[in-house]
């Protein structure tokens, strides 16, 4: 076993053998809090009720009605889904999508493969936007001062007020839509004093500004991660949240894919990440370093100096030489890969971005991995313009303000100032879907539609266009924002005609409107990659970054992958999706490194008061491996007060940054930490569902080993028999199942899985997976059918090997551990342990390799869950629909419209688990049968495999030699392919490919930064 010098752990608790982990290690479910047993009287009561209920039910069957259309639309056939191409464009996030509708209601979002930008990938937030459509807490009517008003009256009053206004502002987030911009231009021509102010909650204003001064092009270029051999991210979560994560993840994965076939691709990019907290991108990096946010500028300047030093070009910047983990190695690799490397920074500091531009210029990346020929529009916000607007608003100079689908009172740093200034404006209108933090302060609320009810378009990049079309008629008495603006501008509010006109006259060139609407996209990209010449003032930038002082514990606020900036906070799917790294649900936490936590006397389960200046917030703490010392990281997007029942959780962080000089870069120094209470259990899924100490589930190696031996890192267990050692699959007690027709299976590439959780939400939408809420997640009763396990590893230096000190080192949690993400769903074992223990045959095996779960037969013994080696079975502890204790979307009629009609909604007392989307398999087979042919590979996709932006999950028929799955299995048979827990001979249908890191070699002493803090005692 090659991996003996590596110990994997899911959380500090596990590594330290925390009592809560040990106690529950052999339990699938946490049974604490379940009181009492069943008593005789209760039993008799239940029996009596049961008999009465059955006899009543037998008396009369309820009459069920079936109501046909009066006039059936030609293209709707009940029971047959229709797909419409559309576009998700929310505050600059972009995804081209297909919307699956059933009988006129959208039930699933899928990727649009025709898009050259997102290429069929979808992320968690886009998947979840479907549920936001059915959010029962959207307002139902337009309002004035909180009271209902008709559209006619609203239009009359707003138009009159606008006409008498002399200084109008329209405030929005980044707008990708050319048509909306045209509407704003029309609005401005009617009201010449109207100015459009754009801001972004997580701003890239500095990047645009720095590009303006460095290259004379105040725009964001396309970043071509797929052309880079060395990728360096500096506080830049480009796989998770930065600019266009779906697109970047696909490009990144392209450079990470390997083939064990003869002559197959055995090269991959090397990814460095330098950051404050552990981001999802950092967790995927080969080498990772940490710095305090105040050191960011010093770090990039040092990196510049080292590169220019090695290359012997450019002058050294005058900045103190800093010693950062892995920085020398990074500089060396960058220089070696010049012209094919890429350095990106998520900083909102012009000086930092200028130096990063200098680095890329030095390395000759412009025109190679950075393309100014196709600029992107994802972030257009201008901090300067927004600050000016706030100042004017506060001074009373702005007399009319319209918030177009934006909520700056909550999600802008100066939110409090805006709230105050709003009182001075004579007219305030919010075009919003609910009375959110901003809208509730405005006089008028012009109820906006959801994007799935709207017309629209988007231009994410130069030359790329896509259309949004409504897939359901307006659920409430709402009107889309553009129509409202047009109405107030005295134009026809028919926005469909407006968009069509914009497209026919300016965008479509040779393609018809109908064709564009069908495809969802129209693309005429500029294929030549263009560079730019650097003329930035590096000396000035270096002086500025040197002047940033480090002070005490620094607070760094980041945008996480699930909740983002908080626009969709009231989305229970997103709230319950674990954060990819911390695995915390339903709230944000204050993340400390182990050392800092020890210094401050903090332990798991504590809450702290986090004070910046006069502002204090109280947060639960999280001990986060990979966190820079003396820093605390907290996610934004939480702590909303007017989002709705699900969304008003956690703590808002932006108010804490207010007023700090560094605020626009989302960090601030001098944080005071004070412990308030302890003993709290986070709703954190990381240590749930353990493998009971069978640790060979993760298999990994490094590129240098893999090149020599494509089976590097493989753990091949052998079973000792009287005839010597044998492979586990060669001896068996099982009869096996014959598969004549299909054998559905999967291959999951650990190398390209980024842990982004798109599959988790996609599965939840497809399979009607219940949301259980924070309290139940804390009890390890989350219902997700697919989870993404995140393992940290402690790596003992190899030379210490099997010594006492070596073992001891394994027990130490690394301050900067390596991370593995592993998606895990039902493995559909051919020798399934769950099947043999079910007393009522509710779980059985199909002739197509599926492990079937029959809910109507299940009596809830949970034997199967106890016997499942992978812990993928979920038990319905409660009835999660129509139950006021679980007041999420299943508890209201509107929310239940999201239910996939092809999948049963499970009731209390039954086990459920991944079915490998059997409804999709059945539908795909039926289509093939109707067309008298075999199913074609790719025609049937599971929800998870379909939405994966990096194609890490491949699904198909393993009996079809032409399928991608079969080909991958052949290719990796003598390579990276492994199955989980091979030694127990359950023969899963799901295969994994070994994770390969592009590291120099098996870890030497260099990598492990042992923490020397004292072991926490007292558990």
């Amino acid at each position: 076993m090659e991996n003996t010098n590596k110990r994997y752990w899911k959380g500090i608790e596990e590594l330290k053998n925390d009592i809560s982990v040990v106690k529950n290690a052999d339990k699938e479910f946490n049974l604490e809090g379940l009181e009492g047993g069943t008593y005789r009287r209760d039993f008799l009561k239940m029996l009596g009720f049961g008999v009465a209920a059955v006899s009543l039910a037998a008396c009369n069957a309820p009459v069920r009605h079936t109501i046909p259309y009066l006039n059936k639309p030609e293209d709707i056939e009940p029971g047959i889904p229709n797909y419409y191409a559309s576009t998700f464009a929310q505050a600059g996030s972009y995804c081209s999508i297909l919307v699956k509708t059933r009988e006129g209601r959208p039930v699933k979002i899928e990727g649009n493969k025709m898009s050259g930008v997102t290429k069929g990938g979808v992320n968690a937030q886009v998947h979840a936007s479907l549920l936001s459509l059915y959010d029962n807490e959207r307002l139902k009517e337009p309002t004035k001062g909180g009271k209902k008003i008709t559209w006619a009256e609203l239009d009359k009053e707003v138009s009159a007020a606008l006409a008498s206004s002399s200084n109008i502002r329209v405030v929005s987030n980044t707008i990708l839509s050319p048509s909306t911009k045209s509407v704003l231009a029309d609005f401005a021509s009617k009201y010449p004093s109207a100015k459009h102010v754009t801001y972004d909650s997580n701003s890239a204003s500095a990047l645009i500004e720095a590009n303006g001064t460095s290259f004379g092009k105040a725009a964001i270029p396309s970043y071509l991660f797929n052309k880079a051999n060395v990728i360096v991210g500096i506080n830049c979560d480009f796989l998770g949240t930065w600019l266009s994560p779906i697109e970047h993840a696909a490009q990144w994965a392209e450079t990470r894919r390997l083939s064990s076939a003869k002559g197959g691709k055995k090269t991959m990019s090397r990814h460095y990440q330098f950051e404050t907290g552990m981001s999802m991108t950092g967790a995927n990096a080969d080498y990772r370093g940490m710095f305090k946010p105040s050191q960011e500028g010093v770090f990039v300047a040092n990196l510049y100096n080292r590169i220019s030093g090695i290359m012997g070009v450019g002058s050294q910047l005058s900045v103190a030489k800093g010693d950062f983990e892995n920085i020398d190695k990074c500089a060396k690799d960058l220089v070696a890969a010049k012209g094919a490397s890429l350095v990106v920074s998520g900083s909102n500091d012009v000086s930092v971005q200028t130096i990063v531009n200098g680095i890329n210029s030095l390395l000759g990346n412009l025109g190679n991995t950075i393309d100014f020929g196709t600029t992107v529009n994802y972030k257009q916000g201008s901090d300067a313009a927004m600050n000016q607007f706030v100042a004017e608003l506060k001074s009373g100079a702005v007399d009319a303000v319209i918030f177009l689908d934006s909520n700056p009172v909550y999600d802008h740093l100066l939110g409090a100032d805006i709230a105050e200034g709003l009182k001075k404006a004579k007219l305030s209108v919010a075009i919003a879907d609910r009375a959110n933090e901003t809208a509730s302060l405005c006089t008028y609320l012009a109820l906006n539609t959801h994007y799935l009810e709207s017309w629209g378009d988007a231009s994410p990049k130069a030359g790329y266009y896509s259309l949004t079309q409504p897939v359901i008629s307006n659920i409430f008495n709402s009107r889309q924002g553009e129509s409202s603006l047009l109405a107030w501008a005295g134009k026809s509010s028919d926005y469909q005609a407006y968009v069509k006109n914009v497209w026919s006259s300016g965008i479509l060139n040779g393609k018809t409107w109908i064709q564009a609407l069908h495809d969802g996209v129209y693309e005429s990209p500029n294929t030549t990659v263009a560079g730019a010449s650097f003329s930035g003032n590096l000396a000035d930038a270096a002086a500025k970054v040197s002047s940033v002082k480090s002070s005490g514990i620094e607070l760094y606020v980041f945008e996480n992958v699930t909740i983002g900036t908080g626009i969709q906070a009231n989305n229970p799917w997103l709230q319950e999706t674990p954060d990819p790294v911390s695995k915390v649900t339903w709230e944000n936490t204050a993340a400390f490194s182990q050392k800092t936590a020890a210094d401050l006397g903090l332990e798991v389960g504590d809450w702290v008061n986090l004070t910046i200046g006069v502002n204090t917030v109280e947060l639960p703490i999280l001990i986060q491996p990979g966190q820079a010392n003396d820093t605390v990281t907290v996610a934004m997007g939480y702590g909303r007060t007017a989002a709705g029942k699900a969304g008003n959780v956690g703590v808002a962080m932006l108010p804490l940054l207010k007023g700090a000089a560094t605020a626009s870069n989302l960090w601030v120094g001098g944080a005071k930490i004070e412990k308030t209470k302890s003993g709290y259990t986070l709703a954190q899924t990381q240590t749930h569902e353990t493998y009971m100490g069978r640790e060979a589930v993760v298999q990994e190696s490094v590129l240098s080993e893999y090149v020599k031996n494509s089976k590097a890192g493989r753990f091949e267990p052998m079973i000792a028999t009287s005839d010597g050692l044998k492979k586990p699959y060669s001896i068996t007690l099982w009869n096996g199942h014959e598969k004549k027709n299909h054998s559905w299976g999967m291959v999951i590439d650990l190398n390209t899985c980024t842990g982004c959780a798109a599959c988790v939400v996609s599965c939840q939408a497809e399979n009607n997976v219940s949301v259980v809420g924070k309290a139940e997640v804390a009890r390890a009763r989350e219902m997700h059918w697919i989870r993404i396990d995140r393992y940290y590893s402690s790596d003992a230096p190899e030379e210490e090997g099997y010594s006492v000190s070596g073992y001891k080192a394994m027990e130490t949690a690394s301050a900067n551990p390596e991370v593995v993400f592993q998606p895990l769903m039902c493995q559909h074992c051919s020798n399934a342990p769950c099947e043999t223990v079910c007393p009522v045959l509710a779980t059985t095996h199909s002739s197509e390799g599926l492990n079937q779960m029959t809910y109507n037969r299940c009596v809830g013994t949970r034997y199967c869950a106890n016997n499942c080696p992978y812990k993928v079975r979920r038990f319905n502890w409660f009835k999660y629909f129509e139950n006021d204790n679980f007041d999420f979307h299943f508890n209201n009629e509107l929310g239940r419209m999201v239910i996939n009609p092809d999948v049963t909604v499970r009731s209390r007392g039954v086990i459920e688990k991944c079915s490998m989307c059997v409804q999709r398999i059945q539908a795909g087979k039926l289509t093939a049968k109707k067309e008298k042919r075999r199913p074609v590979d790719g025609e049937i996709e599971t929800a998870c495999s379909q939405s994966c932006p990096t194609n890490a999950i491949t699904f198909g028929d393993m009996l079809d030699p032409e399928s991608r799955v079969s080909k991958l299995l052949v290719q990796e048979e003598e390579g990276r392919r492994f199955q989980l827990l091979e030694e127990i001979n359950v023969i899963p249908q799901v295969n994994y490919l070994v994770k390969i890191r592009n590291k120099d070699g098996v870890k030497k002493a260099e990598a492990v930064a042992h923490t020397d803090h004292a072991e926490h005692a007292g558990h």
Binding site: N741, S847, L850
Partner: protein, 399 residues
């Protein structure tokens, strides 16, 4: 007698001969035409000269030429607006009701339909032998009849037994030489027999056991029938007769139930489908007026569902109709003779499973099944049943 039969045979042979000749002469496929006609034309046109909604089609080829017909069928509105005299007259004659356009019909389809019209007119008798449809509905009524006969037979046998016993007894007393007066009355002997029987513990126990067992069986049978609504025939908001539409008028099921070959649901027809015919036929009928009212009020008609499967079972019509090639009658009974639709079968899981065990897979000409069929035939001489390809597995219907 024999003569008679051979004569009939001869006429039949001649008829078939004429028919085949006819088909050849027409250069159109009458069989294909029949399907097209029944699915699309029969709602408004008869093959003879009688008027349904539109004119009867007998002798249509003598009246109009092929080119005109094609133009008309593809786009009647265009022909009328072009001022074609015949077309305008036709339009006026039929209360300005315009024929539905069939733009997809090419020469071949039209020729096929015409061929069918011609054969239908040439040999009205030949339309009769179409009764090859299996009628599983009879099986249940047959079963009932058999039960009645069985019970009657048992009663008769019991009576005969009693009579025989009485006679035997009488004869034995006579044989013993006892006077007939000494014989205890039948009543007394019955009483004494009962007394002795009730004193016998074995018999008492046996009787009690019998009652217990019968009671248990009845209870269990009763429990099994909970939720089974065989024979359910609710009153519908409109007295729609399937016998009239599907039976007498021979309208194809899929004409109204548009989804039945395509998807999961067969679909209840929208009012617009009713209006295809009923905008001219029987408008004044109070039942039809209900449809008009519904349309005017913009309130869909709330039909009562007859066939209800529990939500936990997934059933897809197209798998059974389109792929398996089953007739609707297989599950819905003899719909063509039902004035009010009723649930003929139990629709229980046992009933589904039973059919999946017995039914051969309709694998002919379907490449999906080719490999399966080869594999099956290599190991078995029996026909490939649904059961053999996983038709009994849970996740085929429950997910």
């Amino acid at each position: 007698m024999i003569n008679n039969i051979s004569k009939k045979l001869l006429t039949l042979v001649a008829l078939v001969f004429v028919l085949t000749l006819n088909t050849f002469a027409q250069d159109g496929d009458a069989a294909a035409g029949e399907t097209l006609f029944k699915n699309n034309c029969a709602q408004c046109h008869a093959t003879d000269a009688s008027v349904v909604v539109g004119p009867g089609l007998a002798g249509i080829e003598d009246r109009r030429d092929a080119a005109w017909l094609k133009k008309w069928i593809n786009n009647p509105a265009a022909v009328i607006s072009s001022g074609d005299k015949y077309a305008v007259e036709l339009y006026e004659k039929f209360n300005k009701t315009q024929m539905t356009a069939f733009p997809a019909y090419g020469d071949a389809e039209i020729k096929n339909i015409l061929a069918y019209v011609k054969t239908a007119n040439a040999a009205p008798a030949a339309a009769a032998p179409g009764a090859a449809v299996a009628a599983p509905a009879q099986e249940t009524s047959g079963g009932k009849f058999f039960n009645i006969v069985l019970v009657a037979l048992l009663v008769i046998m019991a009576l005969v037994l009693v009579a025989l016993l009485a006679v035997l007894r009488l004869l034995s007393t006579v044989a013993k030489g006892e006077s007939l007066e000494d014989v205890p009355s039948a009543m007394d002997s019955l009483k004494s027999t009962l007394k002795s029987l009730s004193a016998n513990k074995t018999i008492v126990t046996a009787v009690i056991w019998m009652f217990v067992l019968l009671g248990t069986k009845a209870t269990l049978d009763g429990l099994y029938k909970i939720g089974v609504h065989q024979g359910y025939a609710p009153t519908q908001p409109i007295n729609f007769s399937h016998k009239l539409h599907a039976g007498d008028m021979e309208i194809n099921c899929a004409y109204c139930h548009t989804g039945v070959y395509k998807g999961k649901q067969s679909g209840i027809p929208s009012s617009s489908i009713c209006m295809n015919c009923h905008n001219t036929i029987k408008r004044e009928s109070p039942e039809i007026q209900k449809i008009y009212t519904a349309i005017e009020k913009n309130q869909p008609i709330e039909w009562v569902r007859v066939h209800n499967l529990p939500d936990l079972a997934y059933f897809n019509h197209s798998q059974h109709t389109n792929v398996a090639g089953l007739d609707c009658e297989n599950c819905h009974g003899d719909i063509k003779n039902m004035e009010v639709v009723q649930q003929r079968h139990t629709l229980t899981m046992g009933w589904c499973i039973d059919c999946h065990r017995k039914t051969d897979v309709n694998s002919k000409g379907n490449a999906y099944y080719d490999a399966l069929l080869t594999a099956h035939n290599s190991t078995s001489k029996e026909a490939m049943k649904v059961e053999d390809i996983g038709g009994l597995e849970c996740a085929k219907c429950h997910y």
